[in-house]
Symmetry: C2
Subunit: 502 residues, 2 copies
């Protein structure tokens, strides 16, 4: 991997080292490469080619909020862009080391911002430093019989602050709630000052500023501390497989679950394409062996859709919920096929990104994108986006396979998560990816979907933010940024579209 | 009731009439008096004395968002303050016709902003004009087997927009969720432009601007349209009474309900003072007759605390929830006393404000205030606020009675709702009220409570907003207001504290 020489001015570096200590500002090759990109498709393509799109001029490791404040002050004065970095798993360019109109760019790795860790067992809240890994927090909570219930595919790496800053949702968020629904309090250090919002269960004291900081993607300031709601750890888990003849039939069943207070903890309904891919992958996600498939075909479910339902909690309570849910999905034509598919899914739940790496090595483009909308628009959105992706791939001469699943239920709607595979256009991988992304995003906004349900805006979704919140909404965010970050150093090129709409 | 002559300049009035039509800008005595105040204690005292603290110079009735935009434009140019008015039931001065530094003030009554009314049965959402009465919407929904589940004490009058702008919570909000949790989309007309946030079930597209408009109390713009989540109407209701020896014991039981997923739809735990007052009021809220009281005393509950639990939904489902809840509260020392107390409470649930009027006529001050905090702080907050109110009343030579109940449960905490009664200090009623309000509010912020759980900020809670969201948070809101309302006409004197902290 080749990098340009670090461009941080020697006096800026010296000032930063004065604040951080000599060891906590690094500009060696290894540190710069490790912080050069996130985990989006363009990131992987560039890193594999040995040409990251950019790299930070240095990486800072502040130890507490006071050091961080000093770093932001120096960077504001010295015109150095700051990229906050938690787990580094953004798939939308959220940690790309872009300098915008600044003279240099540093990545601020927040892993040393992991204190305090204060658990209030009576209120079921925990306060922790934003750099703490979710997996580490989950392990600490598990020791006390508690859980955060937050399991994104990137679970092994993500930080608490990163999940808050990007409105993360995980595989069990239908049951435990999205990460943003668990944030009760937050502390944010911005170049212009510090915002502290104490954890209260609910308030009518005006606009909720928490909801401005949550989802702010490092563009307004750095989240330094987060107070979260935790839950009793489940004492039992049951995963069930159910087959539907059609995706639309499965969606109707999911709507009944969500609207009749029978929501499971985990839900994943795959469309025909994703289901047949799962069944084809030996041993993974399928109904057990050839016999199972014969059974399904005999029942008329040869081209069916697999639904995995997971129930977590107290044994008697989840038994009751399971009965209720299975009765409901049965009434909607669902055929229960036992626990094998659920177990297979649970065993491979964090494996997706690794599989993607393997396929990439074989010249196969694998990318995912996601949205959400109301139930009444869900099927038309599904069709429109699927068609748009397929058409864009065909137009590039690389027809591919498009799959989708529903994995997050709300009373008023649900998410759609698309995966697509196609042969890479060698040497034009980014152009190919970009064409598909454009087509899919245009279909999403034209059909009533949100541009992102849980991946965040980052670099990739900026062109569609105005479709989501309007031009006036974008201007409002710009004003907020101007107040909190007058020098414009915070994560430039993310969240907010450029003035020319790019 | 005497009012100063209307101060709206004739040319401004003519311009407004040109937009609205001659009939839709009123400055007759009756209209001005009807819009002179809300329903706070200071409002009632002033109106009863025949001297409202202020009155609008005129009342406008725009028929749609286009007329409203034109009104705001004229008012921005002509330096006329605008007070948005829904049901007029604010108890914190939210509709007080203050002109701030403008030259006149008009109240904009939004009752004609009641269209469109679009129901999406599949998604369980309804979109309606912000001026629509919640009671009217509830009636329309009930006809289709649906409910909004929103029943504040002011249910008969409140508008959809008013509930959204003030983060209202109602008597069944523990079950159905706060009003702000039901707002999916919102349209806001501000002097500087219009914000439209479409209803999506969830999104990760940056900061959530909905949460800036919800709770904005007319100080940023006028909410003109709201999209709400609705629910299937309950087919059955059960209300149960339970006695606890102590308030702290009852609180422990409520915490168990909230944290063990056994939350009822309605909950109201009265402290010893409120319980004995309820029992003393003939036939209302008590255990049936003298025999019941003897029964309680025999079981050691003579000075007990009454808990009303309400369960609403499908008959079999609520039967199961009821069993679970009664078992849990039983384990915490609760003694079930049957359905009479619950029925009595349900029968009188909207009567409080009328009772207050009667007592006022007899020279008795009756006021309420409310807060919320985490479970671990709830009992100390309860004691501190109760003591502060009692001491402030004593210090004025008017010792009184202070009562409290818990009525909204969250996994991490709960609300506290205080009612206090004392002889009025004749001729110094406002001063007396203000002294108690100051003392209570200081105790709230010093003990980790929010300054308001569901009454909103209005005029009365402004001095404590910086305690809630910090000085930097207040400055952020000022910037937002500056952008959306550059001339400063929107509801001056509400929500945001004056620069000098008053």
């Amino acid at each position: 991997v080749r990098l340009p020489p670090p461009a941080l001015a020697p006096d800026a570096a010296a000032e930063l080292r004065g604040v951080l200590g000599a060891d906590a500002l690094r500009d060696d090759h290894r540190e710069r490469v490790l912080h050069a990109a996130g985990k989006g498709y363009p990131d992987l393509v560039a890193i594999r080619a040995g040409h990251p799109q950019s790299a930070p001029d240095a990486v800072a490791y502040p130890e507490g909020a006071a050091q961080l404040r000093a770093v932001l002050e120096i960077c504001s004065q010295r015109r150095v862009a700051v990229v906050p970095f938690g787990g580094g798993t953004s798939v939308v360019g959220g940690v790309a080391p872009l300098r915008g109109d600044q003279e240099a760019v540093i990545t601020v790795d927040l892993r040393r911002l992991a204190e305090p860790l204060a658990l209030d067992r009576e209120s079921l809240t925990v306060t922790c430093g934003a750099g703490l890994r979710v997996a580490a927090l989950e392990a600490r909570l598990a020791a006390g019989g508690l859980t955060l219930g937050h399991f994104p595919q990137s679970f092994e790496y993500v930080s608490v602050g990163g999940c808050a800053a990007t409105r993360s949702a995980g595989q069990a968020s239908t049951g435990y709630g999205r990460f943003d629904e668990r944030v009760l309090g937050v502390r944010c250090t911005a170049p212009a000052g510090e915002l502290t919002l104490a954890p209260v269960p609910a308030s009518a004291a005006g606009p909720d500023l928490r909801e401005l900081l949550v989802g702010s993607e490092g563009a307004l300031g750095v989240l330094t501390e987060v107070a979260l709601r935790v839950s009793p750890a489940p004492r039992a888990r049951i995963y069930e497989g159910v087959f539907f003849e059609t995706f639309a039939g499965g969606i109707a069943a999911l709507r009944a679950l969500a609207q009749d207070d029978a929501t499971p903890t985990v839900v994943r309904l795959s469309d025909e394409q994703e289901t047949s891919m799962s069944l084809a992958l030996a041993g993974a996600g399928g109904v057990k062996g050839a016999a199972g498939r014969v059974y399904l075909r005999a029942r008329g479910y040869a081209e069916g859709c697999l639904l995995v339902l997971g129930f977590e909690g107290e044994p008697e309570r989840i038994a009751a919920r399971r009965r209720l849910a299975l009765a409901l999905v049965g009434r909607h034509g669902g055929l229960a096929v036992g626990r094998t598919p659920g177990r297979a899914w649970a065993a491979g739940r964090f494996a997706g990104p690794y599989l993607r790496d393997d396929l990439l090595t074989q010249g196969v483009m694998v990318e995912t994108l996601e949205t959400a909308t109301q139930w009444s628009l869900l099927t038309s959105l599904y069709r429109a986006v699927g068609r748009a992706i397929a058409a864009a791939l065909r137009e590039r001469g690389t027809p591919g396979r498009v799959m989708c699943h529903v994995s997050h239920l709300y009373e008023t709607g649900a998410s759609l998560y698309f995966t697509f595979l196609a042969p890479q256009q060698e040497g034009r991988e980014i152009e190919q990816w970009s064409a598909v992304k454009q087509a899919a995003s245009a279909a999403i906004v034209a059909n009533g979907g949100t541009i992102t349900h849980h991946h965040a805006v980052g670099v990739d979704h900026r062109p569609w933010l105005a479709d989501e919140i309007g031009a006036e909404g974008v201007e409002l965010l710009r004003d907020l940024k101007q107040r909190l970050d007058p020098a414009g150093i915070m994560n430039p090129g993310k969240l907010l579209p450029d003035r020319d709409g790019a």
